[in-house]
């Protein structure tokens, strides 16, 4: 036969045919699997490590962009007794922001802080938590509302299926942390059920319906949201928050008949408590006399108890048991509940901006009005971007370091595989395979190993991405933002690097076998 002259195409065809069988070669199979796994894990780990910082940052920024609550600057007076935000004052704040950020889309809304004590059902203790109200004109309201006609363009703050039914809707929306702490399943359909809260003033318990759980923690350390209407209902449902007057039990025998006859210490104490006291007498009820205590503002039940107990201590006691009866707070059960006290002006306000870059001008405008501006969102944006840059640098460094170690391992594995297959390569050379043919075979095998490893690796990376999507409950918008970060560039870069590593490594590790004497590979001795 004439010497073969294989064209490049014929060499490639032979290499493809040969590799198809060679990948399953039994002797080198463990090393083959090791190479594939090394490529797969390298691809998956490097892709995930390199892509995660940018993806995480973009997801967080997207959440900020989509969350009106998080896209706001919180403003309040620097002094405790500072002026409240009346409509006029909100208008002035609005004008100041418009001056600082011309053309920016923004709204200004006031809100109240609400302190409540939740009853932890598992540990039977109270959780002091702070929330805030959501007003009818608040930009947040559509995002917390579960109404069917909610504009589709407004991203929801709450998990699907829950929220307020409207500005006067009942219930409370909890943060995921508080919901979890209260033993509620955040993923269950709303309403999630009643939770027990305790009056801050009296310690009396109330039930409250949870209508939703927010998707993310709330800013400013708030743990729940409630509409202003619900806030008013809550206050009216708490009898102790509308109590401004009580009466004692019957005056014990031997006590003074008029308040003016009570000891001076008692009268001084009443002045100190800012409580008006008089002795009342009523024939309609069981005849007797008692003290009526009246105040201009809300008082705690315990305060009333304290006042009466102190008065009893200051009066010479002839009958201790009768004094104890006197110290009981009595209220008229037939008295109608007064309407909830109007809140009036807001102690705090929020400037919601349409774009994150307008956070700083909004904060500057508030500071220009001598207000305290908490622009934590802007700080958060800066922190997210800085963290992403740092994490990216760290990831690149780590991936580079681990890739170097991985490359050495891969080269060793490829070298071992080459040594294991040395007799076969030697036999091919004895049959007349040229170095070009062997290079095509070796490169083809490396490419095939790379292909399998890369497919597995990218599948692992995709699985990790899907797991991340589920774990962090990413929305379609957030996923779109994550995809827009160009994570695939890292995947391509890592894949190209591993391809080059595999091909060059396989060529280098088999060079001795390919170009050395076939006799050595075949074990021919002298």
């Amino acid at each position: 036969m004439t010497p073969p002259r294989l064209s490049a195409l014929a060499r490639l065809r032979f290499a493809a045919w040969f590799c198809g069988f060679d990948l399953t070669e039994r002797v080198a199979r463990p090393v083959t699997v090791a190479v594939v796994l090394a490529v797969a894990l390298t691809t998956a780990a490097a892709t995930v490590a390199l892509a995660v910082p940018a993806v995480a940052a973009e997801v967080r920024l997207t959440r900020l962009r989509q969350s009106p609550l998080a896209r706001g600057v919180w403003v309040y007076s620097p002094t405790e007794l500072g002026d409240r935000f009346t409509p006029d004052r909100l208008t002035r704040l609005e004008a100041a922001v418009r001056d600082k950020a011309p053309g920016a889309a923004f709204t200004v809304s006031g809100f109240h802080d609400v302190d409540l004590e939740f009853v932890d059902p598992t540990r039977l203790k109270l959780l002091q938590r702070r929330g805030r109200t959501v007003g009818p004109a608040d930009e947040v309201l559509p995002a917390v509302s579960a109404a069917a006609d909610r504009p589709a363009a407004v991203p929801s703050l709450v998990r699907p299926g829950g929220g307020f039914v409207g500005p006067d809707g009942p219930g409370v929306v909890l943060s995921p942390t508080l919901a979890k702490r209260l033993g509620l399943d955040p993923d269950a359909p709303p309403p999630l059920g009643p939770v027990r809260i305790q009056s801050r003033q009296t310690g009396r318990e109330l039930n409250w319906m949870v209508v939703g759980v927010t998707r993310d923690p709330l800013p400013l350390g708030h743990d729940f949201l409630l509409t202003e209407a619900e806030d008013a209902r809550l206050r009216s449902a708490d009898p102790d928050r509308r109590r401004k007057a009580v009466r004692s039990g019957p005056l014990p025998a031997g006590w003074p008949e008029f308040w003016g006859q009570f000891p001076d210490d008692a009268q001084s104490a009443a002045l100190k408590w800012r409580v008006e006291v008089k002795v009342a007498e009523d024939d309609a009820r069981p005849p007797g006399r008692w003290l009526e205590l009246t105040a201009d503002d809300d008082r705690r039940e315990s305060d009333w108890h304290g006042y009466l107990k102190r008065i009893a201590e200051l009066v010479p006691r002839t009958d201790p048991k009768a004094a104890e009866k006197f110290a009981v707070v009595e209220a008229d059960p037939t008295a109608p509940a007064p309407p909830p006290e109007p809140r009036g002006a807001y102690p705090k306000a929020t400037v919601y901006v349409g774009e994150l870059q307008h956070l700083r001008p909004a904060a500057d405008a508030a500071r220009g009005l001598d207000l305290y501006a908490n622009d934590a969102a802007r700080t958060l944006v800066d922190e997210i971007e800085a963290t992403a840059a740092r994490a990216q640098a760290v990831a690149v460094g780590l991936v580079a370091a681990f890739s170097a170690a991985g490359a050495v391992t891969l080269l060793l594995a490829l070298y071992l595989r080459g040594r294991q297959k040395a007799p076969q390569v030697g036999m091919l050379r004895a049959m007349g395979a040229t170095d070009q043919v062997l290079r095509a075979v070796v490169a083809g095998e490396a490419a095939a190993l790379w292909l399998v490893g890369t497919v597995v690796g990218l599948a692992l990376a995709a699985a990790a991405g899907e797991a991340g999507r589920r774990y962090y409950a990413l929305t379609d918008e957030e996923m779109a933002a994550a995809r827009a970060t160009g994570w695939w560039v890292w995947a391509v870069a890592v894949s190209v690097a591993t391809l080059v590593g595999c091909v060059v490594g396989n060529l280098a590790s088999t060079r001795g076998v390919r170009r050395g004497p076939p006799a050595a590979a075949l074990g021919l001795s002298s």
């Binding site: 036969m1 004439t2 010497p3 073969p4 002259r5 294989l6 064209s7 014929a10 032979f14 045919w17 040969f18 069988f21 060679d22 399953t24 070669e25 039994r26 002797v27 007799p423 076969q424 030697g426 036999m427 091919l428 050379r429 004895a430 049959m431 007349g432 395979a433 040229t434 170095d435 070009q436 043919v437 060079r511 001795g512 170009r515 050395g516 004497p517 076939p518 006799a519 050595a520 075949l522 074990g523 021919l524 001795s525 002298s526």
Partner: protein, 321 residues
């Protein structure tokens, strides 16, 4: 009538392996005739396999990285050691029936081309590629000739059938009746067949391209007598041209040119096997050529053979007539 040119013409061939000071071959000068079975005899380490490697173009004096060799040379010089004597000197000419090829001066591609076109190898281990079926192993050299898979499978199958066909009676004593078991085992991987079958598949692979020369290095040292005879039977049928006639015709190849000499270079420790197989014997000792003699002179050289190989008197045996 002009005698045919020798298959190999060696002149003062000397070879020293790297990091060795004693040459494995020392000044070998010999003409190896074409068309015969040349049995290379000698004790272990006498240079038989080295000679086979050099003739079969399985050795390259310049392997590895050039910079590593340069560093090694510089290191020896720095340490005051004599220069590395590794290398091959002399000339080796191979005549394939049409032209002569100076083997020691060929480049790597030319060597590969010559190996593919003119040489076949049957070694001590079969070196069948473990992930291909035995049939595909037999057709592997044809793949390197660019044959399409279907054609080489067809040829290899025809070759297996030919190997299993009972040939005409042969006077040589090792003739056995082929069992046809190779055909049955053709689709199995090498690990699924016996050692003897593997070696017979390897022999068929070596002759699949109908090479000018087949080098056999201890091809039957691990085999039982039956398989030994079967391997030599296949090689003998290749040499006399009967093995490949059928397969060539089946794939439409023309018959080989009349009188194309086929040479078998056999390296063999077993003197009895060599005695039965060889037409001519090349006796080596300590890297030197002691004698090249025809089969007819075996009995006369028996004492010399026994001395060199360290055999008991009579160990070389006598020719059967």
């Amino acid at each position: 009538m002009t005698p045919p040119p020798p298959a190999f013409a060696l002149k003062d061939l000397t070879h020293t392996y790297p990091r060795e000071t004693t040459p494995a071959l020392a000044g070998v000068t010999v003409d190896i005739p074409a068309g015969e079975t040349i049995a290379v005899l000698g004790p272990s380490g006498c240079g038989k396999s080295t000679l086979l490697s050099l003739l079969g173009l399985l050795w390259d004096d310049r392997p590895g990285w050039a910079w590593a060799a340069a560093a090694r040379r510089a290191g020896r010089k720095l340490l005051g050691r004599p220069p590395d004597a590794a290398g091959t000197t002399g000339t080796v000419s191979f005549h394939d029936g049409r032209a002569a090829h100076p083997l020691l001066t060929l480049d790597a591609n030319a060597k590969a081309g010559l190996r593919a076109a003119a040489f076949g190898f049957v070694l001590q281990s079969s070196y069948l590629l473990p992930h291909f079926s035995c049939l595909r192993n037999v057709g592997m050299p044809l793949a390197l000739h660019g044959w399409p898979p279907a054609r080489r499978d067809q040829f290899a199958a025809a070759l297996l059938r030919a190997a299993g066909t009972t040939p005409p009676p042969d006077p040589r004593p090792w003739r056995v009746d082929p069992t046809g078991d190779l055909w049955e085992a053709r689709h199995r991987p090498p690990r699924g067949v016996s050692l003897g079958q593997r070696q017979r598949f390897a022999a068929l692979r070596a002759v699949a391209t109908d090479p000018t020369v087949v080098f056999a290095d201890e091809p039957t040292s691990n085999l039982d007598p039956g398989n030994t005879r079967a391997v030599f039977d296949l090689l003998a049928r290749w040499r006399d041209g009967t093995l490949l006639d059928g397969p060539r015709a089946e794939v439409g190849l023309p018959p080989p040119a009349a009188g194309s000499p086929r040479t078998l270079v056999l390296v063999c420790h077993d003197v009895q096997t060599a005695r039965r197989a060889g037409d001519r014997f090349l006796l080596m000792h300590k890297g030197r050529l002691e004698a090249l003699f025809p089969r007819a002179e075996w009995d006369d050289r028996a004492a010399q053979i026994e001395t060199i190989l360290g055999l008991d008197p009579g160990g070389a045996g006598r020719l059967r007539t």
